[in-house]
Amino acid sequence: MTGNTRSTARNGFRKHSLALALAGLTTAFAASATQAATWDVTITNLTNGNHFTPLLVTAHDHDTHLFQVGMPAALPIEHMAECGHLDPLLATPEVGAIDADTIANPATGLLAPGASTTAMLVTTETHLSVVAMVLPTNDAFLGLESQHIPNEAGTYTYYVNAYDAGTEANDEVLMTAGACSYTDSGMMPGAPGMDAGTNGTGVATADSNAMIHVHRGVLGDQDTAGGNSDLDSTIHRWQNPVAKITVTVTP
């Protein structure tokens, strides 16, 4: 949904609220599609040794897609998947600025293995997307892709895969200096668990699949001072799903 359509929907809601107050309309009318609901969205990191960068949690309509598995990653998704940066996504018409139904960084920082965080959205929308980079990787991200959320009260649970943005070689080499940029041809921006190695010579060259696809996992090795990978094969591997997302809907 574009920013313009979104504000139209909000104006519509205000008009209905006004009408309700003035005319005391029937319950049936009050339950129309523009009634705002509260979504408590809880994200849990299910991995053994991977952190999530700040999460983006955003509600939107059924035509909006931040990303689509099997299709190329848009540039703002590449920024998020390679460096954890959310600002480019927040500048898109699909997401828009932070507001009642677009929450960025609910954990106020990284989400550690086993940890949970909750974002509370107040929304008139119907679909939910959640994204964040998985660290330490080159361009892995967890993604809930335009999931329809029922408008009945209840708690709904979704399990989320790690996807490969398809935009950077999975060299598994850790950056040692400088700021992360999506223009890097490789290099992982950080290993928050402080459990990575150094001097890896590089695992993989460019992806064979340049679309967003299911991440094949990291390789790692057991050489903390060399080898191909700076990752530890006993710590940084994962199986899908990597995240659990529960949405508690209060109409």
Binding site: V69, G70, N161, A162, D164, G166, V203, A204, D207, S208, N209, A210, M211, H213, V214, H215, R216, G217, L219, N228, S233, W238, Q239, N240
Partner: protein, 246 residues
Amino acid sequence: MRFFQQKQHPHLSSYLAITVISAILLTLSACGDSDNNDNTSNNDATYDITVYNLTNGQPFTPLGIVVHDSAYMPWQLGETVTMGLETLAESGDPSAFLTEANADSAVVMSTSSSNGPFGPGNSETVSITVDHAASLQLTVASMLANTNDAFTGIRNWNIGELAVGDSVSTMARVYDAGTEANNETAGSMPGPAAMGEGFNVVRDDLDRLAVHSGVVTADDGLLTSALNESHRWLGQAAKVMVTRTQ
């Protein structure tokens, strides 16, 4: 018109003539329905079936596609696979799998994609038209070519209740047919990473269908493997999307 001439044939008894005329009228009446619809049955349903290859290093072999009702069961976890599915999973050739399907009275139609294997990041779409029934189900299978006997697919997926214009998608996991040892040697896998053997009638694995544990590869210590880390996958390998267009 030929039948109307027959009815007037002088050698026919009146009884026969009446029988023939009745049959003709029934036939014409049945034809009339389709003639009113430009010779297409108004019960046709058309489905566009698209499979996305979501792996990084596994070409998918031509899709085996079967439309059927719930009495058809192409495979079951823990059970042995048919010779047709073994052939698909070891060589990528879906024809024996489809021949088996066609012999099943619960199968409505079967087909395969016609453009050969398709690689990571690509997709293949097949459009099929069948008589609509609410009970219609879809089965799709395709080999991961750089493996011994791995295939991805979905089975017994309900598509009969889709309305025209509806689109649904699901993710597909990878199965191990269990009919060939997963030694990953160059001589044993037909894909471009190996160019080895396809189907072999010998069953030298557990001989039961399992969720595939993934390939190990030379990069992870299996030094006799013809594969490297780029050929790995985690869990799901494909997205299957079905859109009803008619």
